[in-house]
C-alpha cells in the first residue's frame, strides 16, 4: 500500500504520549492566540514540523484538534491558533491555569539534514510551524529567510508573534507589507540555487509554490493540513493525494516533499 512507508525523516522521531499541560500564558492577536503550555516531556521530544492533537476542553467536541508546534522554549511549548470554527475558538479562549490534554508530538517533522539555506514560505495560519523551524535552523547556523503572505492587515497581525530576523510580509490588499501574494514576494526576494523551501499554507498557495519551485528547480518541503480523527495513523482519515498514492498527513506527513503533492 502506498501510504505505509513515509518519506525518510532526517532525524530519529521521538515518541508521543498524552500530556496533561497547564496553560502558562495566552497572548491574543485579533482572532489569533498564542497559547503556551508547560510540557517538559513534550518540549524535549518535539521537532519542528511536528504537531499535537489537543482536546477542546468541552465535552461537546468529540475529536481532538491538530495543531502545529509553534515554538519550544525550555519546558514550554507554544501553539499559534486561529479561531476558525467553534473548537478552535474555544481553544483561543483558554486562560492561564487551565489544563489541556495534549497528545504528541506526532508526525514526521521537517527534514533538516544537509540544509544550508532555507526559505520559509507561509500563508495565513499556515505560518504556525515556521517559528520553531526558524529557531532550529538558526541554531544550526543555517541562513533563514521567511516570506509570509496574508489576506490583509488583520491577518498580518499574526506576524507579530514571530521572531525571525529576515521576515518579509505581503498582503493581498496591500494593507501591510508588500501588496500581492506570497509568490510575488518570494519572486522579489529570489532564492539561490541551493536554497531549500519550507512551505505551509492553503492549498492554492502550496500549489503555486510547487510551480514556482519547479520552474527554478528548487527542492522543498510542504507541511499539509487535513481533517483528522486519530492523528496516529490508525484511521486513514487524513489522506492527501501524492505521486505515490494517498499518504496520511498524520503518519507519512504532515511534511511531504513539495513536488510529490498532487494538485488538480
Amino acid at each position: 500500500m502506498a501510504d505505509v512507508a513515509g518519506p525518510a525523516s532526517a532525524h530519529p522521531q521521538a515518541k508521543a504520549a498524552v500530556h496533561s499541560c497547564r496553560v502558562a500564558a495566552v497572548r491574543h492577536y485579533g482572532p489569533f492566540a498564542c497559547v503556551t503550555v508547560v510540557g517538559p516531556q513534550l518540549a524535549a521530544a518535539a521537532e519542528p514540523g511536528q504537531f499535537v492533537m489537543i482536546q477542546v476542553p468541552d465535552s461537546r467536541f468529540l475529536l481532538r484538534r491538530p495543531l502545529s508546534i509553534f515554538a519550544v522554549r525550555d519546558d514550554e511549548v507554544t501553539f499559534l491558533i486561529e479561531a476558525r470554527g467553534a473548537g478552535s475558538a474555544r481553544l483561543t479562549g483558554t486562560r492561564a491555569g487551565d489544563i489541556l490534554s495534549v497528545q504528541g508530538p506526532l508526525g514526521n517533522g521537517f527534514p533538516l539534514a544537509g540544509v544550508r539555506r532555507a526559505l520559509l514560505i507561509g500563508g495565513g495560519i499556515g505560518v504556525a510551524p515556521l517559528q520553531f523551524l526558524a529557531d532550529r535552523l538558526a541554531a544550526a547556523g543555517v541562513g533563514v529567510t521567511a516570506a509570509f503572505g496574508f489576506r490583509d492587515a488583520r491577518q498580518a497581525r499574526l506576524a507579530a508573534a514571530f521572531h525571525i530576523e529576515h521576515l518579509w510580509l505581503a498582503t493581498e490588499d496591500g494593507s501591510a507589507g508588500r501588496r500581492g501574494t506570497v509568490i510575488d514576494l518570494v519572486g522579489a526576494i529570489g532564492a539561490a540555487k541551493n536554497t531549500v523551501l519550507f512551505a505551509c499554507g492553503p492549498d492554492a498557495m502550496l500549489a503555486a509554490v510547487q510551480r514556482w519551485a519547479a520552474e527554478r528547480s528548487l527542492r522543498g518541503h510542504a507541511s499539509l493540513e487535513a481533517h483528522m480523527a486519530c492523528g496516529t495513523g490508525s484511521c486513514h482519515g487524513c489522506v492527501v493525494p501524492t505521486t505515490s498514492g494517498y499518504q496520511r498527513v498524520c503518519a507519512e506527513g504532515p511534511v511531504l516533499p513539495l513536488q510529490e503533492i498532487v494538485y488538480e
Binding site: A2, A16, A229, G233, C235, G237, Y246
Partner: protein, 327 residues
C-alpha cells in the same frame, strides 16, 4: 462487596479478560506502537484485537476529506482503505507479540472476495511457525460498510444475501465467525437471524449509519465520498435499541457497539444483552481511552455491588413473550 469485580466474559468459546474490544478500523496497534511511548503490542488495552477490515485486493480508499466531526459524533468515509490480504498476512508476524486474541475483520464486494480472504488467512495460519503469528480466534464479516458503492451495502441490507455469504464462508474455517450488521435496515433481527441460520456463531453491531454532512462554506457535501457513516455518542440510543432487539429475539453472543465512551456505556450494552462491547470513535478522543473505559467499568461494578457481568447481562431486555402477530 470488597472483592475485586470479575470482568471476564466468554464470547462463545473465547475467554476475554474483560468485555472491551476495539471496533474495526479505529485502532491500529502497529501504528500506535510506532508512534507512542507505550508498546501497545505487549501492553494491549483491549481484551481482543479486531484490526481494520481486510479485503482481497489492496484498496486506496475514498477521496479526501474522509472524516468530519458532527454534534456528539463523527462521520467517516474511509472506503475500506487497506493494503489487501497479502500485505496483511505479511504483517502477521509483527502482531505475534500480541497476547490478546485476534478477530480478523473481512470485507469484500462479492461472496468470493470474502472466501478468498478467509482461505488466505487459514492457509497462512496453518503454515505459520509456532510463535510467528498472533492467536487468530475468529473472523468478523463486515457486510455492513455503507461506504463502498459497489458491494458491501447490498449484502448487509438483505437477509438472503447475508445468508448466502455466511453460508459460503462457514465451511472454510472452524474459527469463531461473527457477522457485523449494519443499522441501515428496517429489520435488523431478520438479517441477524439469517446470519445465524447460515452458521454465524455471533453477531456484532452496529456499524455506522449512512449520513451526510455539508461543507458550511459551499453547502455541498464535505466528504470526498459525499456520504459517510455516522458514529459516536450521538447514535448510542439507536445502537442500544438494536442490540436489545437482537438479544430478545435471537440466542447468540453479541458484540455491542456504537457510541461507547465510558464504563457506564459498556455496562449499558451488557444490560441490553451484549457479551462484549467494542469501542470505536472514542479511540480518537484519547489514545488511552480504552484504559479509562475499563477502569470506569471496574469502578461502576464495584459501586453497584456487581461481582460478575452476568449479573447485569440482559437486565434491560423485554422478557415478555413476543406479541402474537395479527392480534
Amino acid at each position: 462487596m470488597s472483592k475485586a469485580p470479575d470482568l471476564r466474559v466468554m464470547l462463545g468459546p473465547i475467554e476475554l479478560r474483560h468485555p472491551v474490544i476495539d471496533a474495526s478500523g479505529t485502532f491500529d496497534v502497529l501504528e500506535a506502537t510506532a508512534r507512542y511511548e507505550r508498546d501497545f503490542l505487549t501492553d494491549f488495552p483491549f481484551a481482543a484485537y479486531v484490526p481494520k477490515t481486510v479485503t482481497r485486493e489492496p484498496r486506496p480508499g475514498n477521496p479526501p476529506p474522509r472524516v468530519a466531526e458532527t454534534p456528539s459524533g463523527m462521520i467517516n468515509a474511509i472506503g475500506l482503505a487497506n493494503p489487501g490480504v497479502a500485505a496483511a498476512l505479511a504483517d502477521l508476524p509483527r502482531l505475534a507479540p500480541l497476547r490478546a486474541p485476534v478477530i480478523v475483520s473481512v470485507g469484500g464486494t462479492t461472496v468470493e472476495d470474502y472466501v478468498a480472504v478467509v482461505d488466505a488467512y487459514e492457509a497462512a495460519l496453518a503454515a505459520a511457525a509456532a510463535g510467528a503469528a498472533p492467536n487468530v480466534v475468529g473472523y468478523e464479516l463486515n457486510v455492513s460498510c455503507p461506504n463502498v458503492r459497489s458491494g458491501c451495502l447490498s449484502i448487509g441490507t438483505d437477509a438472503h444475501e447475508t445468508e448466502q455469504l455466511v453460508a459460503a464462508v462457514r465451511p472454510r474455517t472452524r474459527r469463531f465467525l461473527v457477522t457485523k450488521l449494519t443499522p441501515n435496515v428496517t429489520d435488523v433481527v431478520a438479517i441477524g437471524r439469517a446470519a445465524l441460520a447460515a452458521g454465524s456463531d455471533g453477531l456484532s453491531l452496529i456499524n455506522t449509519l449512512k449520513a451526510m454532512v455539508l461543507d458550511p462554506a459551499t453547502l455541498t457535501p464535505l466528504l470526498g465520498n459525499r456520504t459517510g457513516g455516522l458514529c459516536g455518542p450521538a447514535i448510542k440510543p439507536l445502537a442500544l435499541r438494536m442490540v436489545s432487539e437482537l438479544a430478545e429475539a435471537l440466542d447468540a453472543p453479541i458484540i455491542g457497539m456504537g457510541g461507547v465512551i465510558s464504563g457506564r456505556d459498556v455496562l449499558e450494552f451488557i444490560a441490553c444483552g451484549a457479551t462484549a462491547v467494542a469501542v470505536g470513535a472514542a479511540n480518537f478522543t484519547a489514545i488511552d481511552a480504552p484504559d479509562r473505559i475499563v477502569a470506569e467499568l471496574r469502578a461502576e461494578m464495584r459501586q453497584r455491588g456487581l461481582a460478575k457481568l452476568s449479573e447485569v447481562r440482559g437486565r434491560a431486555l423485554d422478557r415478555r413473550p413476543p406479541a402474537v402477530t395479527g392480534s
